[in-house]
Amino acid sequence: MNMNIPACFPNQPVVVINGLSRRFKSKLALDGVSLNVERGQVFGLVGANGAGKTTLIKHILGLLQAESGSVRVFGLDPVAEPVAVLSRVGFLSEDRDLPGWMRVDELIRYTRAFHREWDTAYAEQLRQQFQLDPAARIKQLSRGELAKAGLLVALAHRPELLVLDEPSSGLDPVVRREMLEAIVRTVADEGRTVFFSSHLLDEIERVSDRVAMMACGRVVLQGRLDEILESHFRLTLRFPTPPPTPPKLAGALLVTGSGLEWTVLCNGARGELEAAVVKLGARIVDETAASLDEIFLARVGRERSTGETLQLPARSVTSNKPDASR
C-alpha cells in the first residue's frame, strides 16, 4: 500500500473554520469565528436567536461565501466545490424548506435523485419508524412530521457529516427525543460526524462532545463539553458583615446575592480562589457544579454587558445581575 497517498485523511477535521467574518449591511453577523469539527464528534453550537448560528451553518454548506477568513469541509471549499461537499452532507434547515406540493414518497424519490449513495431500504425503515404516510402532502404535515420528513431526506444517503440547524425548534418532547436519537445513532454508526445548533442547552449537554457558545457573531467559549463543565463551579460565600459592594473575585464570571451570602460562578484554579476568598474575609459555605445553562448565561451576559472588552482574558470583570442567574 502506498502510504504517501492515503485514500482519505482520517485524522483531518471534517470542518475547519478560520477567522470567518461576515457583514450584512451594517450588522456584523460573524466576527472572527474559528472552530474545528473532528471526525466522529458531535459538535453543539449554542446561542440565542440572532447570535449568528444559521449564518455560520450557511457558510459550512457553501450557501454563503466567506467575506474574510476561510471555511473548509472535508478539506474542500464548499463554495468552489459544492457537489463534492454536499454529496457527503445531510442537512436539516430550521425552516425545513421542503416543497409543499410534493407527497412524502415524491420527496423521497426526488431527493434520492441527487445522491448516488442513497440507501432505499434505510429510507423506508426511517419512513416507517417516523410513521410518515407516503401519500401525504408535505404542506399538510404537522410540524413534527415535517421535521421528521426533513430528517429522513437528510439521513438516507448516510452522510459523513450531518448538519442540523435548530433541529428541535418548535417540536414537542416526543419528536425532540426522536431528533436526539437520530443524532446519537448517526455518531454511533461508523463514526459519522454531527454539527448541530440549538438554544436548548440540556439537549446540547446530552449529546455533544464539543460545544461552542456564540453571542453577537462571536464564539465566546468553546471546548470539550466535559472540560467546560469541570472547570466551572459555583461557590457560595458567607461574609461576617454585609459587603458594601458585590464581592470582586478573580475568575468570577457572575456574582449574585445580597446581604451576607453571595454566590459566585467561577472559572479558575481552585486554590487561588480559596486564597482570594480568605483575603476578602469570607468563607466558602457551599460549592456546587455549574450547569451549562448557567455557564452560558454568565458568559453571554458578560458579552452583552462588556461588549468590546471581550478579547481580554475575561477574568477580572465582574457583573452583578441577580436576574441573570437563571
Partner: protein
C-alpha cells in the same frame, strides 16, 4: 441496568454514568460477572453521545469495576475485586460529607450527629 441522566445538574454525563454504575456495583444491584449493555445500546437508551458512554466504560475499567472481555462485552469485575469495599466506603464518604456539612451549618456537634445516626440505625432495625 437502570441509569438516570440529568443534564441540568452540571455534572458531566460520563461522570454521572461512572458514579451510578459504581453505586449499583457497590450496592450489589449489579452482580459480579453481570454484563453491561453495549456502548451503542446504552447510548441510545439514555439518548447520550456514544463517545460519552465509551469514556465512562473506559474509566470504570481503569478503576477495576468492570472488565472488557475480548470482543464480547463489558462485565462487572469478579467478586474478589479489592476495590469493592473501598468503593462502598467511597460512596458513603460522599454522603457523610453532605451530612457533616449540614450538621456544621446547623451547629450540631459531631457527637450529637453520631447519636442521631445510631438512633436512626436502631429505628430502622426495629422495623425490619
Amino acid at each position: 441496568m437502570q441509569l438516570h441522566i440529568s443534564p441540568k445538574d452540571g455534572v458531566p454525563i460520563y461522570r454521572q454514568i461512572v458514579n451510578q454504575v459504581k453505586y449499583l456495583v457497590g450496592s450489589g444491584r449489579l452482580a459480579p460477572g453481570e454484563e453491561l449493555p453495549p456502548i451503542r445500546v446504552l447510548a441510545e437508551q439514555l439518548v447520550v453521545n456514544p463517545n460519552t458512554v465509551a469514556r465512562a466504560y473506559a474509566e470504570l475499567e481503569h478503576a477495576g469495576i468492570v472488565t472488557k472481555r475480548h470482543g464480547s462485552g463489558t462485565y462487572v469485575s469478579d467478586n474478589g475485586s479489592p476495590l469493592k469495599r473501598a468503593e462502598k466506603l467511597k460512596i458513603l464518604a460522599q454522603r457523610a460529607d453532605a451530612l457533616v456539612a449540614e450538621a456544621r451549618h446547623l451547629e450540631v456537634e459531631i457527637s450529637e450527629l453520631l447519636d442521631v445516626v445510631r438512633e436512626r440505625y436502631r429505628a430502622m432495625q426495629s422495623k425490619e
